[in-house]
């Protein structure tokens, strides 16, 4: 299958750390392959595929696994270790779309006023100002900077509408990280990520995770806010056709606001990260 071998080199989230009890077995799927997580709250968690042990690590409040004995290193989020941040794993949401479409949607701001109405965007403030995007060859990531957008309620901790500054990082084909203005702590940025578990090429589990400076809202408030946002996207994502992400420029016509998406698709194609993608026009 196209891209499967490349996809097997990456790490993927399959559970929230500490969420399984001793002896519990959790069957799930990764890249179309059945795997089992053997839960153990106190000792090492193990993951098996067809009876064989897979590499496991716990990072960013999630359990990660890979099919490769020599995987690409798990990306770094230095902010995760900063003192004072509240770390918020938001649970799993399953979406019937390509894992790459889930990541791409997360990189898009033009949909905010229409999908996240009165929260992350509002009419008539629909214009996306020009911003910078680059593919950073040294660290092999897509980075979008100087993204600005008017938001009525940028975060649970935001009061009135503010112009929010965003930086986006695609740190792996199925990992997207955004940094945005942190309303209660000027000068710092909230970190919001989507970790995507590809169940197969057209279905994924999305594990949103956040590292915030927010001492006012309860954990339930912060999780609810993020789930509300992501599930607003879910019904849109499930209606995108074709389900796989098209990489052939003949398939979809981008606009200037889609620069991050164009860079993301180009980067996927160049790196052969085409699991969940359509490489030729159909």
């Amino acid at each position: 299958m196209a891209g499967l071998e490349r996809a097997k080199e990456d790490w993927y989230p399959i559970a929230i750390a500490g969420s399984t009890v001793d002896g519990e077995q959790l069957d799930t799927s990764l890249l179309g392959i059945n795997i089992t997580l053997h839960g153990d709250k106190d000792r090492e968690i193990s993951v098996t595929a067809d009876g064989n042990n897979l590499p496991v690590q716990t990072r960013y409040d999630h359990v990660w696994t890979t099919f490769s004995e020599n995987p690409r290193p798990l990306f770094d989020i230095p902010e995760a270790d900063e003192a004072g941040r509240v770390l918020v794993p938001c649970g799993v949401v399953r979406v019937k779309c390509s894992p790459l479409r889930a990541v791409e949607n997360f990189l898009d701001i033009a949909h905010f006023p229409f999908v996240h109405t009165d929260v992350l965007g509002a009419e008539p403030h629909t214009e996306v100002e020009p911003y910078d995007v680059k593919i950073d060859e040294t660290i092999d990531e897509v980075i979008a900077t100087k993204v600005k957008f008017f938001q009525p309620q940028a975060a649970k901790s935001a009061g009135d509408g503010i112009v929010t500054d965003y930086v986006y990082r695609v740190a792996a084909p199925m990992v997207s990280i955004l940094y945005k203005t942190c309303p209660p702590k000027p000068g710092s940025q909230d970190v919001i990520t989507l970790f995507v578990q590809p169940l197969d090429e057209e279905t994924c589990n999305v594990w949103p995770w956040m590292a915030l400076y927010d001492y006012e809202n309860s954990m339930a408030d912060m999780i609810s806010f993020q789930q509300m946002i992501f599930v607003q996207d879910r019904s849109i994502l499930e209606n995108q056709l074709p389900r796989k992400l098209p990489l052939d420029p003949k398939m979809e016509i981008p606009t200037r606001a889609d620069m991050t998406s164009i860079a993301y698709r180009r980067w996927l194609k160049r790196g052969g990260a085409i699991y969940g993608a359509l490489t030729e026009a159909v």
Binding site: C90, S218, A220, S224, Q227, I229, Q232, R234
Partner: protein, 217 residues
């Protein structure tokens, strides 16, 4: 404040109360509960309040209500001065409404359960939930078609009642579980009618009628 609601943003049952409060134009205190992934509704504190371990929970005056039907009747009785949403003195209508309130829990146990599976990965007997969900959708479709032949747009009588509020969320959220509305024309019209109500509020998966958005601005 009129009442306090222990609330989960993705719950169709909590949304019944949020929606009806919006339509009636009443404010309330909302307390977010970490249903997923935290299972906070099964915590000691909330189990003490509601031994059934379900959401929503409403604190209404001195009452602790845990059944959405009771909440809707309480809200209508207290805040709907025209008595149209719950026409308490009309025996035939109230009886028919209660029938649909009962039926709305079938929607929760079929479409609602299937949605928990397809969206939040809950362990559910998915084939049965989906098959029973289709039966439930067909029943609503048949009722709305009959009402349409009589010139009505609502489940009971000539105007919207709490029967519509109670049945709306999990019918509207059926696509979350993979059950599309394409086969149900009467349901589609009814969903549109409810989304057009003054004071309508959205939830993730249930969108605004966009054309009506700026009316009255």
């Amino acid at each position: 404040m009129s009442f306090k609601l222990y609330n989960y943003v993705l719950s169709g049952n909590c949304y019944k109360v949020r929606l009806f409060a919006g339509v009636l134009g009443i404010n309330y205190d909302s307390i977010a509960v970490d249903f997923h992934p935290g299972q906070e509704h099964k915590s000691d504190d909330l189990m003490q309040l509601n031994p059934a371990g379900t959401l929503p929970i409403m604190i209404a005056d001195d009452l602790v209500l845990t059944e959405t039907s009771a909440m809707l009747i309480w809200m209508a009785s207290k805040f709907d001065s025209d008595n149209t949403w719950w026409p308490a003195t009309d025996a035939a209508k109230t009886a028919a409404i209660v029938q649909w309130l009962g039926f709305s829990s079938d929607l929760t146990s079929t479409i609602g359960e299937a949605r928990l599976h397809t969206m939040l990965n809950r362990d559910v007997k998915i084939e049965k939930a989906l098959a029973d969900g289709i039966v439930a959708l067909r029943r609503i479709e048949a009722q709305l078609t009959e009402q349409g032949l009589r010139g009505g747009a609502w489940l009971v009588g000539e105007s919207p009642t709490i029967a519509d509020i109670a049945c709306f969320p999990y019918v509207a959220l059926a696509p979350d579980a993979g059950l599309e509305h394409d086969d149900y024309p009467a349901i589609r019209n009814w969903l549109y009618a409810i989304r057009s109500l003054s004071g309508f509020v959205t939830m993730p998966g249930i969108h605004e009628v966009h054309e009506l958005r700026n009316e009255g601005d």
